[in-house]
Amino acid sequence: MKNPNDIGLRVAMILCGGGLLALLTGCGSTAASVSSPILEGSEIKQTKATITPIDALNSPQDDFGATMPLDTTFIFFSSSRNGTIGPHSLFQSRMAGATWGTPTLAVELNNAHSNGTASITPGGESIYFAGHEFGFGDCDLYRADIGPRGAIAQEIVPWSIPTNLGFQVNGSYWDSQPCISADGSVLYFSSNRPGGFGNRDIWACRRKRDGTWDSPINAGELINTPFDEVSPWLAPDGQTLFFSSNGHPGIGGFDVFSAATISGVTAVTHLGAPINSTADEICFSLSADGRRAFLSSNRSGGKGGYDLYSVFPVPTTVDPLMVVRGSVIGGEGKPMVATVEVTDLTSETALGSFATDPETGKYTLVLPRGVNYAITAEASGYLFNSRQIVVARDLERDSSRTLDFTLQPINGVIRLLVFFKSNESNLQKESTNDLDRAVRFMNANPDISVEIAGHTDNTGDAQAALMLSKQRAQAVKSYLVGNRIKAERITVSGYGSAQPISSNDTEEGRTMNRRVEMRVIAPK
């Protein structure tokens, strides 16, 4: 078995990957000059996985790249079958009884070029995919959000016009096969951009607090080789990255591997047979609930080209997930187009950003366990609204909860998601998510002034509670002023327990009553 990290192989790959030199010397066929490492005999792990072709979706042409949201009656995939409007197009199918219905073209997502390898968000509100020719050069990554349904049939998803993810992500090289993490914080993809380990590598971008993407970083030499690493897929719990490679020791062609970090050590594992074969296995993916696995292979016995296969059981353990569903409505009670943002309060890291369904205002989030989240709904012309969800590290089974938001108009009142230790008025670092939003809100609306009001429950000494509520409001003002908001735009009040919004007879009610509110009091 050849070591792909051998210096000789690296040199050969550098030379043969050199474009014109490859053309002139004929060394472009790296398969001929440098062999991929091959596992043989007992080196090949035999698993009990069952590989079943999805006949209802496969065609004599290529079918690959399945992605499934939490609604497991829906599936998207790429195909070059008859009926495409480009070399590859995105198709969708809805389960009809026990089998998949006839795939239909996702009209809004396709153009006359190659489009495919999609990754859909758990709630199905957004889809990331690769498109060709209309971006910065070669393949680029795009995003489309769900659009108004109108009279569109149930089995067809209405999408908005796809938008290019921008130069920060795409560059002018081949960028394709995206996978958005379940929490929306990280985008994995394959690219042949420079700075990697040769040919195509796995890269990842982290979402920034302002919603844009940070510069891609290479997934590193444990995952990438001088050969090709393609079609990354992150398990919904964020613990395992699947990808295909012809550089790691495999059975032949592209094989599927998993990478996971256990006790601080990252290990890359060949998924063995029968998931892998001597043919190509690419586009391994998991459904948003992590309970279904799909694969694309051009192994013999299929309908032709690449075919879609289901894999059972899922070849990894997916940690229990918290599914949060809800809707965002405006003050007038109507569903609205809003953005739902997820933040890790502990690390102060912006995670995902999800669009609501424009007709129902609904959203769905899948949150891995062990994180203290803030969920924030925002919409133009409205006050933001944040809530906290703590998903315990010892969550034992998949759970779900509902979280609805009612957004107030700009001249309304919001409860700030700020945190203090008991009987103290020092802001804890988890407070910065909402305080920074308040800063941005006041900067975006320079004509308004606000009242910061502190409230307590009715436990303890009333006079002390009154003092504490004012001190906490003052702490919020100090933060805002420290971030260049003029002090004269902010007044502070402490109301103690005089203005409860819930009963003080229960712990839940008292928690509701301990709060700091921001009230827009007047245009300045």
Binding site: A31, F64, S114, G137, S176, Q177, A279, Y306
Partner: protein, 310 residues
């Protein structure tokens, strides 16, 4: 001197031929691959093992075909980086001009002033100038664009050489003295170029034609007699040992044509901006004036800032 000029010209022509030898097959391969324009080498694995009709048309590394037309797609890169959008650009740079002339055939030489009795010293010259202008790029596909350029070229070339000229001595006697002629020609062109631009992964080559119209020309020459007691006889009193002359290039062609060959590297700066250092050779194929074989070749290096109108 004639032999030297011819050799220089031959060397230049061989250089151009070598560039064309690389460029033309590549261009032909791209053009002949219509409507699938792209040229690439099959990569191992995915493309090589695709079933017929599969990814990238079932690329076959075993075929050994060095130029395999294939379109890139979501599974296979095509290694092209030409974006499909109109681009406008500004360019500025320096150039070096190489000039050849053959005065044994001349009717109206480039020379100014009195050249009677001179031997031929003006067979070749060179010098630096500058250029600036704008680009408009119209992409045809991911490999090929049409590139239109309008630019202002200031080219300058000159040389010096020794000539035997009559000189007058302080006692009134005359003899032949050695005179050094230092001359320089300047031409300001408005240049229009139309080129095909073939983009590879991060670099490109161009080939096309230019037409340039001289906006103004100038010629300067300084003659300087050597020796201790040797003056120009026509200089009067006080006697002069150096004479400066100036004028315009006589009878310049109203339109000058060149073959343009070039290449550059693309650096993407942000969503819209590209920066490219680009080398170009504009080799004239008609005379710059009525003097036979008064050819120039202009080698330029430009810094180009292109804006992608996406």
């Amino acid at each position: 001197m004639i032999g030297c000029a011819k050799r220089l010209q031959l060397i230049r022509l061989r250089g151009i031929a070598a560039i064309m030898a690389i460029w033309l097959p590549l261009g032909a391969a791209v053009l002949s691959a219509q409507p699938t324009y792209y040229v690439s080498i099959a990569t191992p694995g995915m493309a090589a093992q695709s079933a017929p009709g599969g990814i990238s048309g079932g690329g076959d590394t075993a075929s050994g075909i060095p130029f395999r037309p294939t379109t890139g797609d979501v599974l296979t890169p095509n290694s092209r980086r030409n974006t499909p959008n109109l681009k406008i650009g500004i360019r500025a740079g320096i150039n070096r001009t190489s000039y050849t002339n053959d005065r044994y055939l001349n009717n109206v030489p480039l020379d100014v002033g009195d050249v009677s009795g001179e031997t031929d010293i003006y067979t070749s010259a060179a010098g630096f100038g500058y250029q600036f202008g704008g680009d408009f790029e119209y992409p045809l596909n991911q490999a090929l664009s049409l590139l239109f350029t309008a630019q202002y070229d200031h080219i300058s070339f000159g040389d010096e050489g020794s000539v035997q000229e009559p000189c007058i001595h302080s006692d009134g006697s005359q003899s032949l003295g050695t005179s050094i002629h230092d001359w320089r020609a300047n031409i300001n062109y408005l240049k229009i170029a139309a080129s095909a631009k073939l983009t590879f992964s991060s670099w490109y080559i161009t080939a096309g034609l230019t037409g340039e119209h001289p906006l103004s020309t100038s010629l300067t020459r300084t003659r300087r007699l050597g020796g201790q007691d040797c003056f120009y006889p026509e200089s009067g009193t006080p006697l002069k040992r150096a004479i400066e002359e100036s004028g315009e290039i006589p009878s310049p062609s109203g339109l000058h044509y060149s073959i343009r060959l070039g290449g550059g590297i693309v650096y993407q700066l942000n969503d819209h901006l590209q920066f490219s250092p680009e080398l170009t050779l504009d080799y004239g194929f008609n005379r710059i004036n009525k003097s036979p074989n008064s050819d120039i070749g202009v080698y330029g290096i430009s810094a180009i800032l292109r804006y992608d109108l996406r």
